[in-house]
């Protein structure tokens, strides 16, 4: 009997001890959680497909009161959808401490789809990717092209010139995908012609229109009268791809310079090279007139049949085209220079309309081509495609960069103290359950022993 009483006391002691230990451990754990920043791993199964699932996880995380004290860790195996990224960004902005771990393998890819400002309005597709690897380009119609892996592990920018495609455009590199849902409708920019009325301006405008350009012009007929072509407006790179100046004295050199600085093209042809207000802009100074060669308009070298200025290039100008000159050697007839983001091109020929009217039957076509090519020098195809404002281009053009911008750079690896948010055991999962089992078993054994002795 005495032994059994001792046993029962031991059981009670064990039960009470276990309960006390459990309470003490829970208290200690609670204090330590309050004192230090715990890492809590949030697993988003989302990535781009089940956005609603990811959004639900984020919503529950935000509602959890511990979200304000724990550092949330997102180990991402795929880039989240734009809306999920936006939610993460909003959490970041609201002050929730969060970090993310990059396990996507899709870092740094970006897609840009723009259209040329030229009449052809071709698509300029560019892809930036961090390392060499095969990439595939798709549009709504399917696969367009693919590029094999390069031999360098450095970031590369690759691109395509595509005459026609249908949005959305998607580029796939490894596990990464970037897409652009909308592509600008593609209204080609216009050309502004500044000239005095005359056959040169008339046929230059005609040639540019035959090359596909939409032309605006303002031709002063009298001191108070202006004849307009198209609907000329203020000089602006948003409306005009280039300005063609033929001969006009009434031209604002400062406005043209600002236009070129901002990326516009300027073409100075013939007598425009003698306009004083354009002296600081021109790639070449016109010195003296080279006479036309009689009858040459009907030969295979019709430009010899045009009068031309002899050009003295400015130091930063580059010769673009040389034709046979009057001194027994070739002379520069087209030159170009850069001003800011734009180009200024000079053409030496005067009265080019004679090429069309007085030349051979091919003169009409050749004259239009000549002007189209001169203008292309100022507005190169794709060479000066405008930068893309990501915010203005709906789509997912740079998902990784977007995530970094919203959530900050990723951490290298998950910290060892990271804890999972799965339901815990005991008091909030912080106290080993064995203590409670031990207490329950001890109390049960003590109770059974007492009952077997006939006590209550």
């Amino acid at each position: 009997m005495r032994v059994r009483m001792v046993f029962e006391r031991i059981c009670r002691t064990i039960a009470l001890g276990a309960l006390a230990a459990g309470v003490a451990m829970a208290f200690v754990a609670h204090r330590s959680a309050d004192a230090g920043s715990a890492w809590r791993t949030i697993t988003l199964t989302d990535a781009t497909d089940s956005t609603s699932n990811a959004q639900g996880v984020l919503a529950r995380t935000v509602r959890d009161p511990r979200a304000m004290r724990d550092t949330l860790l997102f180990p991402l195996t795929a880039l989240p959808s734009p809306s999920t990224r936006a939610a993460i960004g909003a959490m970041q902005l609201s002050g929730l401490p969060l970090r993310w771990e990059d396990r996507t393998g899709a870092a740094g890819m970006a897609l840009s789809v723009t259209r040329d400002a030229t009449p052809r309005a071709a698509f300029d597709v560019r892809v930036s990717r961090p390392a060499a690897g095969p990439i595939a380009l798709r549009d709504a119609g399917g696969l367009l092209d693919s590029l094999e892996a390069g031999d360098k592990a450095t970031p590369t920018v690759q691109g395509w010139r595509i005459a026609s495609l249908t949005a959305p455009v998607q580029v796939i590199a490894g596990s990464g995908t970037a897409s652009q849902r909308l592509v600008e409708a593609g209204t080609p920019k216009r050309v502004l012609v500044i000239a005095l009325p005359g056959w040169e301006s008339k046929f230059t405008i005609a040639a540019l229109e035959e090359s596909g350009w939409a032309v605006d012009g303002s031709l002063r007929i009298s001191p108070t009268g202006v004849s307009t072509v198209g609907s000329p407006q203020r000089l602006d790179t948003a409306r005009y791809a280039a300005v063609v100046v033929l001969d006009s004295m009434a031209v604002d050199g400062n406005a043209l310079r600002a236009f070129a600085q901002q990326g516009g093209g300027v073409l100075l042809s013939g007598d425009a090279l003698r306009v004083p207000s354009l002296a600081a802009l021109r790639p070449a100074r016109a010195t003296e007139v080279r006479s036309a060669t009689a009858g040459a308009l009907l030969t295979p070298t019709p430009r010899l049949g045009l009068e031309a200025w002899e050009l003295a290039l400015t130091p930063d100008a580059e010769p673009v085209l040389r034709d046979a000159g009057s001194h027994g050697h070739d002379e520069v007839v087209v030159a170009a220079r850069r001003i800011g983001a734009g180009r200024v091109v000079a053409s030496a020929y005067r009265q080019s309309w004679r090429w069309r009217m007085e030349g051979t039957d091919d003169g009409l076509r050749d004259h239009a081509r000549w002007w189209g090519r001169l203008l292309a020098l100022t507005v190169p195809d794709g060479g000066s495609a405008p930068s893309v404002d990501i915010a203005a281009w709906p789509g997912d053009v740079a998902p990784h960069a977007d995530l970094v911008a919203l959530a900050g750079p990723p951490i290298d690896s998950a910290p060892p103290t990271a804890r999972h948010t799965s339901p815990g055991r005991g008091f909030g999962g912080q106290v080993p359950a064995i203590l409670y089992v031990l207490a329950a078993v001890s109390l049960l054994a003590e109770w059974a022993s007492r009952r077997l002795r006939g006590l209550r």
Binding site: W199, S222, S227, V229, M249, R274, R356
Partner: protein
Amino acid sequence: MIPPTATEPFVFATAQYESGDWDSAPLVPANVIDSVARYTSLPVRPQGVIVPLASEAAFQYPLLYLTGHLPVRFTTRESEVLTRYLARGGMLFVDDHNHDVDGAFHKTVREEIRRVAGPLTPLPNNHELYRCFFKFEDGPPTTSHEMNGWGDNLVHEHLDAVLRDGRISVLYSNKDYSSEWSFHPDNKRFLSIDNTKFGVNLVVYALTR
């Protein structure tokens, strides 16, 4: 010293053809030239030129004026030059000096124009030809020959044209501007309204469109 710019002056050219009387309105060029110089700042050569239609020289003058009373039959060479001239962007202004839709000039020259350029169609009275410098709200201005019942005794409501790429390639008039404008420019001072203003529009349109 080379001038900063030396814009070539406009030269009024009258087309000379082998059939008919191409020189029936010798004072028209001087009158139009006078009006262009009077109302605009366009450089213009004081004297016009006469250009044989059979000559390649026609290509030097992208605006040609053609008139007459008598039947017009272009030679093969004239047709060939005129076809190329129009295809390259030249503009031909033809005026019926008879002001008569039953006249020989009207019947024959329209047929010739159809052969070299295509059929003439009415030019809308709101065409930019009528507002590129002076404004003619009602289309082509009427002439005293229309109002006085001469010729076909009709007031022609519009001009006819052949358009090419949206531009007037051939402009045809039954209104007899050749008679209306055939006076010495000095006599404009006797007119309350200068009736040659439409000629300025014609030149401005040719130079700018």
